[in-house]
């Protein structure tokens, strides 16, 4: 056991994967000499050598495209793109090649690779550095989209992603990198890609979130508890494929649901989750499903960030609304 924050847990997982499987290589901008812009790969080039951890030219499409070729040839590349807002040059590679090669060749060629991307706001970063555009990835068949929110999950999900026979977009909540520490086992363990994690059991309302918004969601559950409301908290963890059963089972029990995400409301994953609940648990509902999300705006710069990010109060208000009916 070691007490690690999310960034350290990811670093440890990459270190473990490099030790465990010689096919694993890391590539990305500034990940070698300086350990990446968020230091997630700190020390790995020194430990594993420059033929396992590659600094690359500044070319996101090139990084993902080269990693794709490596994966097809039989390696297990893990690439890092510096920010979700910088991933779009690679979108063509991801949607047209990475996600499709298995389908296009009827399983003959595959691309087992991981694309790690820090995402989300709340740190007053420059423009393009705070995006939460996960829905543009969850809409692509052929890839999986994973978002850890705890150090323990970060390690287990990343090791599972690296072992996965299919490509995984692995989104890392920037705001949580160094937010909390957790005791996590030093051993090689995996957290299954797919199932939601029930973080807290409750009876009155289900709060559903992922990534950085888990912090506000948790705080909202605490406030609700003080007011005598028992909230169940689900961390979705895997946005694609979505664990519909896990979500529906919880809502059938509580009869109320609030989905919380940082991404803009319209077209976000909250709609997919709300639709799933409407399709499968409508008769268990005591109140309409609520969504607490970012506004339909460009993610703002620092001075407007507080206007944008869903607050604990908004989550509590939404939960209260479901309880008033």
């Amino acid at each position: 056991m070691a007490e690690l924050n999310l960034a350290q847990a990811l670093n440890g997982a990459l270190d473990t994967a490099l030790d465990a499987d010689e096919r694993v290589v890391l590539l990305g901008e500034d990940i070698g000499r300086v350990g990446g812009v968020f230091r997630i790969t700190d020390g790995l080039r020194e430990r594993h050598g420059p033929n396992r951890v590659f600094d690359t030219p500044v070319a996101e499409s090139g990084i993902v495209g080269a990693a794709f070729g490596m994966a097809v040839a039989g390696m297990r590349p893990v690439c890092e793109l510096q920010f979700l807002g910088f991933s779009y040059p690679a979108y063509d590679q991801i949607i047209n090649h990475v996600a499709r090669i298995r389908n296009r060749t009827n399983h003959r060629f595959t691309a087992p690779m991981v694309i790690r991307i820090p995402y989300g706001g709340g740190i007053g970063a420059a423009e393009h550095h705070s995006e939460s555009t996960e829905a543009i990835y969850t809409h692509i068949p052929g890839i999986k989209v994973v978002v850890p929110s705890t150090p323990r999950d970060a390690r287990g999900l990343l090791l599972a992603a690296i072992e996965d026979p299919d490509p995984v977009v692995f989104l890392e909540p920037i705001r949580l990198y160094r937010a909390v520490k957790e005791d996590i086992p030093d051993i090689y363990y995996k957290v299954e890609i797919g199932p939601v994690r029930m973080e807290r059991a409750g009876d009155d309302v289900t709060l559903i979130s992922w990534g950085a918004m888990m912090r506000e969601t948790r705080a909202a559950a605490d406030q609700l508890a003080e007011a005598g409301v028992s909230a169940e908290v689900l961390d979705v963890r895997t946005l694609s494929p979505l664990d519909r059963e896990g979500i529906v089972a919880s809502v059938e029990k509580t009869g109320r649901a609030v989905v919380v995400h940082e991404a803009p409301l319209s077209g976000g994953m909250g709609g997919e989750i709300a639709a799933t609940i409407a399709e499968r648990a409508l008769y268990s509902l005591h109140a309409p499903v609520q969504r607490v999300a970012g506004w339909d705006t460009i993610f703002p710069l620092k001075r407007s960030e507080a206007h944008y990010l869903p607050s604990v109060d908004r989550i509590v208000d939404a939960a209260s609304k479901t309880l008033e009916v």
Partner: protein, 374 residues
């Protein structure tokens, strides 16, 4: 051109006639007449220099080109009959494609395009699977184990970097496999070209960049596609050797790609070969070339037909007869007809197959869709 340290690097440089790199080959001659910088075999079948291959090898290359053209002709006919999806003919580019593929080892990687059926076939992709793919069936991409040819890339340019990753991986895994990527003149305008060339050079990957400059990107002429003196010259900026060859001279292409492959296999990194050729047919069966080029333009090039050039050489050597030609064509027809028959006899793909090939195992949402109402 580039100042590479190795002796093998000089080997490729030696292919480039003096003055070529300094722009002595004018845009006019390159682009309008298709006179390329490195050539061994003249259009009339005369030999410019001693050919580094045997007569039997020459005959075999010719037979391959005849077979490829038979496929191309058959495909156009089948598209007209509604039996194939839109088809991109390669007529006129047989020498470039067969010459390039014949220079590779059978376990080398190939990442090529929708117009590269001849290249892909010569590199191991069976005709029947190419045809199956063109009938609109993903199972056409399932090449046999041991064939390291990716399915034809449909988007322009995105596949070039794959040959960098493939080659890079082989290098890291300690094999001496190389990767060749084939693309057109239009693809060199994509940002992907830059990223692929740069990555290959920076990481010294064993990659051969093989550009078939066939004069047009659909309607857009190469003269407007770039203001560089040639496509080959772009290699210099990336720090790798580049050579322009007569893409209608199968021997010149063979020699150049062999050199590039040898460099790559020896650890001396990537190179760029520009094969100047001509797309005799339309961009695809949906295209109308009369809207952007003179009809006789193609006619002048028919004179330089890559097959006719080799036929004339063989005839000069007393190695070509009408009977042999008839035999080759009959064999090629039988082969292609058998491949068509095989592909058309494949049962229609099922709904389950469509959903089952998205992931190693269907995800829970796909499982529900497999089991649910439809």
């Amino acid at each position: 051109m580039s100042s590479r340290k190795s002796g093998l690097g000089r080997g490729l440089d030696a292919l480039i006639p003096s003055g070529a790199a300094s722009g002595a080959v004018t845009r006019q001659t390159q682009r309008d007449e298709g006179v390329a910088t490195f050539r061994l075999l003249n259009p009339d079948g005369s030999v410019r220099d001693r050919l580094p291959i045997t007569l039997d090898e020459m005959k075999s290359l010719y037979a391959d080109m005849v077979e490829a053209r038979t496929y191309d002709t058959k495909s156009i006919a089948m598209q007209r009959q509604g039996r194939l999806a839109t088809y991109a003919p390669f007529r006129g580019q047989e020498a470039a494609q067969i010459g390039a593929a014949a220079s590779l080892r059978e376990d080398d990687w190939v990442a090529a395009t929708y117009r590269d059926a001849a290249l892909n076939w010569r590199a191991g992709y069976p005709w029947e699977l190419l045809i199956l793919g063109r009938t609109g069936d993903e199972r056409g991409g399932e090449v046999p184990r041991g064939v390291n040819v990716l399915p034809p890339s449909i988007t322009v340019g995105g596949h070039m970097i794959h040959a960098v990753g493939l080659a890079w991986a082989e290098n890291l895994m300690g094999t001496d496999r190389i990767a060749l990527t084939s693309f057109g003149d239009g693809a060199t305008s994509e940002g992907d070209f830059h990223e692929a060339m740069n990555f290959a050079a920076v990481f010294n990957t064993p990659t051969v960049f093989f550009c078939q400059n066939n004069g047009y990107a659909i309607s857009y002429p190469t003269s407007e596609q770039t203001k560089s003196e040639s496509i080959a010259i772009k290699a210099e900026a990336y720090g790798m050797p580049g050579v322009q060859v007569d893409g209608n001279d199968v021997v010149a292409v063979l020699v150049a790609v062999r050199e590039a492959a040898a460099l790559a296999r020896a650890g001396d990194g990537p190179s760029l070969i520009e094969a100047v050729t001509y797309r005799i047919g339309p961009h695809t069966t949906a295209d109308d070339p009369s809207r952007y080029r003179a009809e006789d333009e193609g006619g002048r090039w028919e004179e330089k037909d890559p097959l006719e050039r080799v036929r004339r050489l063989l005839e000069r050597q007393g190695a070509w007869t009408v009977e042999w030609q008839a035999d080759l064509e009959a064999q090629a027809s039988a082969t292609i007809e058998a491949a068509v028959e095989w592909a058309e006899a494949i049962p229609e793909p099922t709904f389950e197959e469509m959903l089952n090939r998205m992931y190693a195992e269907p995800t829970p949402p796909l499982r529900e869709q497999l089991e649910g109402d439809r």
